[in-house]
Symmetry: C2
Subunit: 190 residues, 2 copies
């Protein structure tokens, strides 16, 4: 999606430590009209898949998930992050290793909101090593639902997450795929 | 807003400890089409106020804030929660006492996204004692922006938050106002 690449170039900032700062439109301040365009693109890609639910992870996935789910007229379900492993019997749980924050946390969804009749589109803002996405796919699998695929705003394609999931047969559609990125040379898209 | 009251009656559950569980449409699973209606109602109430930004707090305010901001065609800004007091110079910060979780946390927004030219509509899912809302109003005041008012999905009017803010001159519009609530007798709206 050319608009996502243009937005990253015009609004993103590359910081030390392989950080792409896009908090002026994606994950702190949210350009709602722009993300609604992104949602329409995910709808175009997945409209024939019988999606019943859009799954994401708090907090920064919620905006793009809602603006996508509006096109499908289905609910959003957002996985909650927890640092405790004291889980109730009423949730599906999976762990995520956060490379950004150097910790492991647990994500959960209530069992009552995901079941074998669901066809789930997973949406998130970033895909790098794929740890969060793998956990969301695990939650879907635990519930017996079908994951029809993933919709990602920005994929760092020079990290292994996206292609490793594709190699396992998961459909992953990313609106911008970054082939290389550096403070000195800027961004090259795939 | 009659639809919000009906939704609470049909989908909400009253639990021990003064908890109204609405996580099947508001703060875990999100009924996007329904919250878009709520957003249109906030737009109707505030459309003449020259709103430039919708401010909320992660995570459960993000959905309703986005669906409101879509009507105004303005960005959302969501305050981030942090348990550390190690704040950068680049953020406005304020503290929130959480009665639900029995702790105090800090909320922050980046200074670059809020300034004296902004007219801010604050949106959140719940209003009870008003601690989160007071912190958001504080962030707006620190930035020099104007808070045009607040849009709340569900107000527990038997707690003091809403009326205490109104007494200070803050415009607070709540889509459902609960006068009393108990497991035994159910909900009475104002």
């Amino acid at each position: 999606m050319r608009q996502m690449e243009e937005k990253i170039v015009s609004c993103g900032k590359i910081l030390a430590g392989d950080v792409l700062k896009v908090d002026n439109f994606l994950n702190h301040q949210i350009d709602v009209d722009f993300l609604a365009e992104a949602g329409r693109e995910f709808y175009r890609l997945y409209k024939d898949e019988g999606v019943t639910k859009v799954l994401t992870i708090e907090a920064s996935g919620i905006a793009i998930a809602c603006l996508t789910a509006e096109c499908f007229h289905v609910p959003v379900l957002f996985a909650k992050k927890s640092t405790t492993s004291n889980m109730s019997k009423n949730v599906y749980a999976s762990s995520v290793e956060s490379y950004t924050h150097g910790c492991t946390y647990t994500v959960t969804v209530a069992k009552e909101y995901l079941n074998e009749n669901d066809r789930v589109l997973i949406v998130d803002d970033f895909l790098a090593k794929g740890s969060a996405l793998t956990a969301l796919l695990d939650l879907v699998e635990q519930s017996g639902a079908v994951a029809v695929g993933c919709g990602i705003a920005i994929e760092k394609s020079y990290q292994e997450g996206g292609n490793s999931l594709r190699a396992k047969g998961v459909r992953v559609e990313s609106l911008a795929k970054i082939a290389a990125m550096s403070e000195k040379d800027g961004i090259r898209f795939c």
